[in-house]
């Protein structure tokens, strides 16, 4: 199956939030009471019931003017997905499109994925004791449709298609924009399936990691220690087995004879 990519071009996004709402509508996610904290951004962060969030950010343009930037923040659908690696129950897994699907039924609420994700995406719902995140509308893409957010986007900032085609578009656009513009995502974590075209350097954007990686602790645990520990556990079992074969069960025979002998007096 061809890998699919959701391409998001920040230079075309107007922060209208059709995508944020389309996601809620398609996935029937409830709304919660919010308050305006001095920004259009609401809810304030990704939540178990908010799987994509438009982040609003104002920066100075260096000339006394202002830049107003909008970023569609959602699961990056990593190839080398830390969350899939750590998930003990297999609730998080890769689909044939390269996206990371989420099976709520299997989630045990351990929150390991939350610690693992370099993009701080999954969110925990204490009432359900489960996490939630964007699944790139698997039910839609598996039926030849584009994700709900992509369909709703009026300016074409969001697009969806085959990975190679989307990456080609991304690089073309970054080149067109010039300056500090770049493609973000294809060089990290094995390549993400949500790719950004960033008009500014990654470091300018709020909460966007410049160098996202699967955390060393997980690599250490999953790639080294866990196999080692399994090896060690296996070694202990194997060792015990061999010991039993070679030496037999523990010899407590002398004591028993003595007892029966003494018992006869």
């Amino acid at each position: 199956m061809t890998e699919k990519v959701k391409l998001y071009d920040l230079s075309k996004c107007t922060g209208c939030r059709a995508c944020q709402l389309a996601c809620k509508q398609w996935n029937q996610l409830p709304a919660k009471q919010t308050h305006n904290m001095g920004t259009y951004q609401n809810p304030p962060d990704l939540q178990p019931n908010t799987w994509n969030l438009i982040r609003f950010q104002e920066v100075s343009d260096g000339n006394g003017g202002v830049k107003w930037m909008f970023r569609h923040d959602a699961c990056m659908h990593c190839t080398d997905a830390a969350c899939v690696r750590v998930c003990p129950s297999g609730a998080l897994s890769h689909t044939k499109y390269g996206t990371v699907a989420f099976d709520q039924a299997k989630c045990i609420g351990c929150k390991e994925c939350i610690s693992a994700c370099p993009f701080e995406v999954p969110r925990y719902d204490p009432e359900k004791d489960k996490i939630a995140k964007c699944d790139m509308c698997f039910s839609r893409i598996d039926n030849g449709l584009e994700p709900a957010c992509v369909k709703a986007c009026p300016t074409g900032a969001l697009r969806f298609g085959d990975k190679d085609e989307m990456l080609e578009l991304a690089y073309k656009r970054a080149k067109e924009l010039g300056g500090d513009a770049s493609v973000y995502g294809d060089k990290f974590v094995g390549g993400t399936h949500m790719i950004y075209v960033l008009p500014e350097k990654a470091g300018v954007y709020d909460r966007l990691p410049e160098n996202p990686r699967v955390p060393l602790s997980i690599i250490a645990w999953k790639d080294w220690l866990k196999p080692l520990s399994l090896l060690a556990a296996g070694g202990v079992l194997a060792g015990s087995l061999f010991h039993y074969i070679i030496h037999g069960p523990k010899d407590t025979g002398g004591d028993d004879d003595q007892a029966s002998q003494e018992g006869g007096k």
Binding site: S11, K12, T14, G15, C16, R17, A18, Q20, L21, K24, Q25, P30, A31, K32, Q33, T34, H35, N36, M37, G38, T39, Y40, N42, P43, E58, S60, G65, V66, K67, W68, M69, F70, P154, T155, G156
Partner: protein, 806 residues
């Protein structure tokens, strides 16, 4: 400018984005850096209410630098026309035009010089000091960079950057367009704001061409449809005029409103007026009345009186109305000066409130500050169907009539508006038949066969297709027109076939051609674009006669007939006829017919004597402004507006240059909410995104007032106040107005008390899933309107902002 398309017309912004991909430049001029500004190539700030100064400066720049599309200006506009030498302009007449008397203009000096045959005298060299072009130059010579910058607060370099970029479109073959909305209309000089841009577009040759035009982004998805079908007091469907009391006969009426011209080559399409008025009368009364009788049944206006929204609520406040149908609206939040509007409603005996959701209007009697025990108004709330729960059409900003099918049934007792009106009509008719009454026939003779007829002579339900066909029109008898025989009952193919003798009907001549023997043109969904310039002529239908770009005769050279823009032609002569878009009354190349066929003289009006407040736009300050004097002239405010504050009441107070209200305030929208929020505040997903009424203010102003981002503050004008959340942002910056610092703030107008947690809920009330906070922005706005349209000035008035509890 005058709009924020990215936030409020996001689908239109899809096409702006595409245009930019193709190399177009986007210019955003706005008091506040908006979502549109964030995508623009050039952004310039200006103080709310100073658009004419800004654009007047652009006109001066165009003329000073010879950037006009010369041939276009000479042949297609009234720039060469000679004006009456007694005509005086504000620069030499204390800030007003000649003829001002008691707040109204006698326009006799705003006329053209004519020869012995009545033909307008022209100077094609554009040099005569009395020709329109030279008067234009003289008038705008006062709009130099310095004074414009001091009025608008826009730095000179920013003015120049905008002027330089936009006027490039004056080059032959280049085009620019303007997308404007309420940022321009909602001012006491609203119409003149738009006029200034229309003049710029004419000077640059941008009307009637691909990528040009003056494009109104309508404020509501079907307001184009409602104005086309005459929701406003001064017009009948198809922009015919509402008869005045002083016009007793149909002949007098037609004579008054049928324009005449002596220009030999002008088509003067409105000369067909009598065909359209006759056909309209037939649509209302069929053969139940003669044309003369039918004319007599039409509602009349008293001469000299206006019946606008402001007039209605002014009279209602004085207790002059017994009852009020509030249909698909929320005046308690949408009307200027909400305290006045809400108080006005307490004077009614009854109100019928037709709406989809619960609103501040239906509940006005138990709103904040109201004592229900003292209010006698009986409110009948009728639930109506939403747009997807009924079949019908919507007309958009591009004049496209698009048919919509019914997707679901309305819930509970909710009914389409048309069905409610039908029930009312039959009941009122019955009462008139039984009891008689003044002009009873106006109702009893009305035809109402818009559905399958029952045995009782009433239709069993409304069939919107039959209404659409009535709007298109029928032949009421066998008739031969243009050599062709049309049988009685045939749908009229287009308005070209409509008659003035009562043999045809048409509920709206502009829509004649929309539903014909070929079918429902508005329901077409052809996706091919044969034009190559994005006309999509097979998608739905647009008026007139599916012509997508009106005045397209101006898109070609007047002599050769060749398109100005070879790469994006709108129409082309193929040797025997025009191909491309539907040609707009364009004669063969070189025939000399001027292309603006709806104007009596056939040319675009650079000089516009039809306006109530002047043939040239002039900068006047808003009714409430931060400056003591108008820097442009001794006349501070538009002299031709109808004032309610002079003999008005407490609620009509104004505060200008008042230290209690030192900041300019404007109102605007957000993507997430719609109008007064009646439809959107009840939607949890939308309320979650924008839960609270807010005020946006500059970092500098916040510092001055000790306000922190996210803090609750009070914004107030002399008429009312609202509690809101402060958004402190660099997207507003203080203005330097004539050397003084003037701060501006802005508030959205989507909020109302009905969905707030603070109101008193009683048994049976529905509580919103997500509460919003804040009441209507219009509590602050002034009760004053434009001189031509009376649209309220909600975009520039004076307020103060204080921390809560100060």
């Amino acid at each position: 400018m005058g709009s924020n398309a990215a936030s409020n017309h996001p689908i239109s912004f899809k096409y702006v984005t595409k245009a930019m991909d193709n190399g177009a430049k986007l210019i955003s001029v706005d008091p506040r850096f908006t979502q549109t500004s964030s995508k623009a190539d050039i952004y310039a700030a200006l103080r709310s209410g100073t658009d004419i100064a800004f654009l007047g400066g652009m006109i001066k720049y165009i003329l000073d630098n010879n950037l006009i599309q010369e041939k276009y200006v000479k042949y297609y506009t009234n720039a060469p026309f000679m004006v009456n030498p007694d005509f005086k302009m504000p620069g030499e007449n204390d800030g007003v035009f000649s003829g001002l008397m008691d707040g109204k203009y006698d326009k006799s000096t705003w006329s053209f010089q004519t020869d012995a045959n009545g033909v307008v005298k022209k100077d094609m060299s554009l040099k005569n000091p009395n020709c329109v072009y030279q008067l234009l130059k003289k008038h705008y010579s006062r709009y130099n960079l310095d004074v414009v910058s001091r009025i608008t607060g826009t730095p000179k370099e920013d003015l120049l950057r905008v002027y330089k970029e936009y006027t490039k479109t004056g080059e032959v073959g280049k085009a620019g367009t303007i997308m404007y909305a309420m940022g321009w209309t909602q001012h006491t000089v609203g119409v003149q704001n738009i006029r200034t841009m229309a003049m710029i577009q004419l000077l640059l040759g941008n009307m009637g061409v691909a990528g040009g035009g003056v494009n109104a982004l309508r404020g509501e998805s079907n307001v184009q449809g409602s104005t086309d079908h005459c929701l406003l007091f001064h017009i009948l469907p198809g922009y015919l005029k509402t008869p005045k009391a002083s016009l007793p006969t149909l002949a007098a009426y037609n004579s008054k409103y049928t324009p005449k011209t002596k220009e030999p080559k002008s088509l003067n399409w409105w000369k067909n007026y009598a065909k359209y008025s006759a056909s309209l009368i037939r649509a209302h009364y069929g053969m139940n009345a003669t044309l003369e009788e039918g004319y007599g049944y039409l509602p009349r206006l008293d001469d000299g009186k206006t019946y606008s929204w402001l007039d209605i609520f002014n009279e209602m406040y004085k207790g002059k109305f017994t009852g009020f149908f509030s249909w698909g609206q929320n005046p308690a939040c949408s009307g200027a000066s909400s305290n006045k509007t809400r108080q006005a409603m307490t004077k009614l005996d009854w109100m019928v409130n037709v709406n989809i959701f619960d609103s501040e209007t239906g509940n006005f009697w138990r709103g904040p500050g109201m004592d229900p025990t003292k209010i006698k108004t009986e409110v009948f709330s009728l639930p109506c169907a939403a747009s997807i729960e009924k079949e019908g059409s919507i007309t958009n900003s591009g004049r496209w009539m698009q048919w919509r099918y019914k997707a679901v049934n309305p819930p509970g007792d909710a009914m389409p508006d048309g069905e409610i009106i039908t029930k009312l009509f039959y009941k009122i008719k019955e009462l008139y038949e039984k009891e008689g009454g003044p002009l009873a026939e106006a109702i009893t003779k009305m035809t109402w066969d818009y559905g399958p007829m029952g045995a009782d002579g009433k239709i069993r339900h409304l069939d919107t297709h039959m209404i659409a066909k009535e709007i298109n029109g029928y032949f009421l008898e066998d008739k031969i027109v243009k050599g062709k025989l049309f049988k009685k009952g045939t749908l009229v193919p287009s308005f070209v076939y409509l008659q003035d003798d009562g043999s045809t009907s048409s509920g709206n001549w502009l829509y004649c051609n929309s539903y014909t023997e070929k079918g429902n043109m508005a329901a077409r969904r052809g996706k091919k674009d044969k034009s190559g310039i994005g006309l999509y002529s097979e998608w739905a239908w647009c008026w007139p006669v599916n012509r997508r770009i009106i005045y397209n005769g101006a898109s070609v050279d007047p002599i050769s007939g060749k398109p100005w823009d070879k790469e994006h032609p709108v129409i082309m002569w193929n040797g025997s006829k025009w191909v491309g878009d539907v040609p707009d009354g364009v004669a063969a190349p070189g025939s000399g017919r001027p292309p603006f066929i709806m104007k009596p003289h056939g040319v675009g009006s650079i000089f516009g004597p039809g306006r109530a407040d002047g043939p040239f736009p002039e900068h006047y300050e808003p009714l409430e402004c931060p400056v003591e004097k108008n820097l442009m002239s001794p006349q501070c405010v538009n002299p031709a507006i109808k004032r309610f504050d002079v003999d008005g009441t407490d609620v009509d107070k104004r505060a200008t240059c008042d230290p209690r209200f030192p900041f300019v305030c404007s109102t605007y929208r957000v993507s997430e909410h719609w109008q007064t929020g009646v439809m959107t505040r009840w939607c949890p997903w939308l309320a979650e995104m924008q839960p609270d009424m807010f005020v946006e203010m500059s970092v500098e102003l916040a510092r001055l007032k000790g306000i922190k981002n996210g803090e609750r503050v009070i914004v107030k004008s002399i008429r009312g106040e609202v509690e809101v959340v402060a958004i402190v942002t660099n997207r507003f910056k203080p203005f330097s107005i004539n050397g003084s610092v003037v701060h501006q703030v802005g508030i959205p107008w989507h909020f109302g008390w009905v969905t707030t947690a603070m109101r008193k809920f009683v048994h049976g009330d529905k509580k919103p899933e997500v509460f919003t906070s804040g009441d209507a922005a219009n509590l602050l706005t002034p009760f004053i309107g434009d001189a031509n349209t009376m649209i309220p000035e909600s975009k520039a008035f004076m307020v103060n902002v204080e921390r809560k509890g100060v």
